[in-house]
Every structure is written in structure tokens, then in C-alpha cells.
Amino acid sequence: MAMLEVKHIEKHFGDTKVLNDISFSLEQGDVVSIIGSSGSGKTTLLRCLNFLERADGGSIAVNGETLFNAGDRSAQSDGEIRKRRLHFGLVFQSFNLFPQYTALKNVMLAKELLAREQPDFKRRRKEILNEIEHQARQLLIQMGLADRMSNYPHQLSGGQQQRVAIARALALEPDILCFDEPTSALDPELTGEVLRVIRELAEKKTTMIIVTHEMAFARDVASHVIFMDNGYIVEQGDPVQVIEHPKEERTRQFLAHYAQK
């Protein structure tokens, strides 16, 4: 059984259809790269997986549990969705760190708030908070930010901010971590440090879906590549196959355009 099963996802904004019959699946430890030009629906797809948008059709299941089924409106209350979206993490193009908190607190905040819902939180308060802080520190060290924990976001470079954002997403231990063009807002010399961190996560068998324009990175890191155009999946499969020897004319055009740059 696949870990993530996405079936027939449809989405339209008014009359414009932005996602058409999107189906794919991935296994534990897979890294999927989604490539395609702007406006092809990549970001909308990620936003549907994270429930920032509600798909109009199709279903999403993780580990056999149906998280979303467009036909079943009753199971789409805010409270239900809040729990289900924790299966997914999302790293944004624009980082979206909380500016009033230090790097460490950014990583801890959501977990702290969730811990308060545990029945034994009051009794084990100190212990739980210590655990959360320990885990957050470990994550920041893993991201190479050991000496940046007490800095506020505006004191960090873009690459550092994005690494904090990755640690923040990992802190909730999502089943699948999604990246929405994680390096598009960064200077070229800062993209390397973020890509390196994602590569390390791939080596540790973190299940990830990465929307990216970095073709070489997609080819090297991904176990599976999806090429999207105009709201459709045009081609998907082995990264070397799709990127080096695409079957579809549209994929070839897109990649040729990239090679020119």
C-alpha cells in the first residue's frame, strides 16, 4: 500500500480549471519533484495537499486513511482538517517565519501549543516543554544553525531563514514534507545551503514532495519526477527518464527552454 495516494484531484478558481485529474502515489522515503512552468498548477496542488485550498474533486489518503474526499463535505470542518493537515508539513517560498520570535521559538511554538491539548500536560508541563526545546535545538543543529538559535528572523539571511522554516516544519514530525519552490526567493549563492539540507533529509529517507525550478537538483535528489502543464500531469516517472529522455513533446519544450537559460 502506498503511503500517499492522491486520486483524481480537480480544482477550479471560478471558470478556470487549475488542476485536472491529478493522480499520483508515493512510498515511505520517496522524494517526488514536481516541475513545470509558472501557472501549471504545481503550487495549487501542494496547497490542496496541505488544505490551504479545498479541492473540488478527488481524494487524498495517507497510510490508507482517507484525509480528504471531495464528495464528503461533512468531514471537512475546521477542527477535523486541523488534525489531518498535520500529516503534511509545508515549507513556503517566502519562509513565513514569525518575526516576533527567535529561531528557536519559531521551531517550538506550534509543538508547544499542541502539547497543551495533551491530557497530562499540566502534570508534566516542565518535562514536556524541556523535551520540545531539546528536539528544537537538535533540529536547528542539524540545519547548521547552532549559533543562530536566539536570533530573530530579520537578523538571519534568507538561506538561514529557510533552514529555520524547514526545522519548524520538521518539529511536528509530518509524514510528508512539502516544499513550495524553497529556493526561488533566495540569491543564487544562498540556494546551495538550502538544497544541501534538503539533500541530507532525502538521504535520511524523509518523505518529501518538492516543487522546484532547480532541474539538476530534481534529477539528483528525486526518486520520482512529475511534470505538470496547464493543470495536467503530462509525464511522470523516473527522474533521469523524465528529465533526460522525456517522452512527451511538451516536456521536451519545457526542458529545452530551461537548458537555454
Partner: protein, 228 residues
């Protein structure tokens, strides 16, 4: 000079009493307008069209007409329509009418500042909170509120300092605030008449008060300076 020395304590005593009324109106207005402004701000941002239309219309009317006219209407209109002055004839009634006019007026200005503050927080902050499993309430209190406050402090400081001076408008309905108290010595009061200097002297009170406010609000602004 000798005359001035005789008059000074009398004038200062009167001005102190007037200034107390000024301060009272100032604080009551703040206490009322700060929360009411939030209600109006949420009203005008509401997705429920009639409510947002109503809120925006009220803001348009209040901001589009002079506060002095609003004071006159609120104080005299009930008397004209109902045939009796609901505010009573004393200072307490005039204060209540002034306070209500000021609260409504300032709440409308505040609401626009709040609206700017709320809409100025990037949408990504809300989305980041959502994907981290926070509730809407947690996102508001833990993420967006402080960012909003940081954005609204400078424009609010401006309005608050303007409010100190605007309280003088309440003398149009004979509220005995500090300018009213100063003016009394022109008409004649406590053996002093034709003296214009007490009126000039009121400026010292406003200046001192706004000096203190500027320092306090500046301090608040600096306390929020640690993040961007």
C-alpha cells in the same frame, strides 16, 4: 507685575480644575474608543455585505463631518426631537454627551488604523500558522496580534496626541474643560476680567501633557523594535 502675581494663583487653580475635566474626557474617550474601534474594524472587514456596508457608511459620515457638529447634534438633537433634554442641564450631562461624541468619532478613526494594521500583516503568517496545526484563535493571539500592534502604534500615537487637543472642542456645548476655564477670565470671573493671558497659558498644559505622552508612546514603539 503685582497684579499678575495676585491673579496667577487664582487662574492656575481654575485652569487645574478645567484641565482635570480635559483629562477625564481624554481617558474616557480612549477607554471607549479603543475597543469600539476594533468592533467597527471587524464590521467593515466582514464578509457579510450589509454589515460591512453599514460600518463603512458610519465611518464615512463620522470622518466626513466636523467633530464640533457631531457634538452639537448629539447634545441638542434629542432635545429637539423628544422635546426634553435627555442629557440634563448639568455638567455631568454635558460630559456624558461629549464622551459619547468623542468615543464614536475616535472609534471611527481608530477602526481605519486597525484595519490597516490587520490587513498589513502578510497573509503568509496566517497560512504558516494553519499548516502548523494552530487554531484560528492561536494564530490571532500568538502570531498576528503583536505584529498588528507594532504596525498601529505610530499612527495611534498621532491620533492620541490629536485627541488631547481635540477635547477643547467640547466647550461648544459648554463643557468646562481647560479652554473654557481660561476663557472665563476674559468675560469676567473671580474678580478678573478682560484677561487674555490665562487662555494663552492653557497651552502650557497641553504641551506638558503631550510631552509626557510622546515619551510614553515612544517607549512603547521602541519596545516593539526588536523585530521587523
Amino acid at each position: 507685575m503685582e497684579l499678575f502675581q495676585q491673579q496667577l494663583p487664582i487662574v492656575i487653580h481654575s485652569l487645574n480644575i478645567g484641565f482635570l475635566q480635559t483629562l477625564k474626557l481624554f481617558f474616557v474617550t480612549l477607554i471607549g474608543a479603543i475597543p469600539l474601534g476594533l468592533v467597527i474594524a471587524f464590521g467593515s472587514m466582514s464578509r457579510f455585505k450589509p454589515l460591512s456596508w453599514l460600518s463603512r457608511t458610519i465611518v464615512w459620515i463620522i470622518r466626513g463631518t466636523p467633530l464640533m457638529i457631531q457634538l452639537l447634534i448629539i447634545y441638542y438633537f434629542p432635545g429637539l426631537v423628544l422635546g426634553n433634554n435627555i442629557w440634563g442641564s448639568g455638567e455631568a450631562g454635558r460630559f456624558l454627551a461629549s464622551a459619547i461624541s468623542f468615543i464614536i468619532n475616535y472609534a471611527c478613526y481608530f477602526s481605519e488604523i486597525y484595519r490597516g494594521g490587520i490587513q498589513g500583516v502578510p497573509h503568509g503568517q496566517n497560512e504558516a500558522g494553519l499548516v502548523l496545526g494552530m487554531t484560528k484563535r492561536q494564530i490571532f493571539f500568538k502570531v498576528t496580534l503583536l505584529q498588528m500592534i507594532k504596525r498601529i502604534v505610530p499612527p495611534m500615537s498621532n491620533e492620541i496626541i490629536t485627541l488631547v487637543k481635540d477635547t477643547s472642542l467640547a466647550r461648544i456645548i459648554a463643557l468646562q474643560e481647560i479652554i473654557w476655564a481660561g476663557q472665563a477670565f476674559m468675560k469676567g470671573s473671580q474678580g478678573i476680567s478682560g484677561a487674555i493671558w490665562p487662555l494663552f497659558f492653557t497651552a502650557v498644559y497641553y504641551l506638558a501633557c503631550n510631552g509626557i505622552l510622546t515619551i510614553l508612546l515612544g517607549r512603547l514603539e521602541r519596545r516593539l523594535d526588536y523585530f521587523r
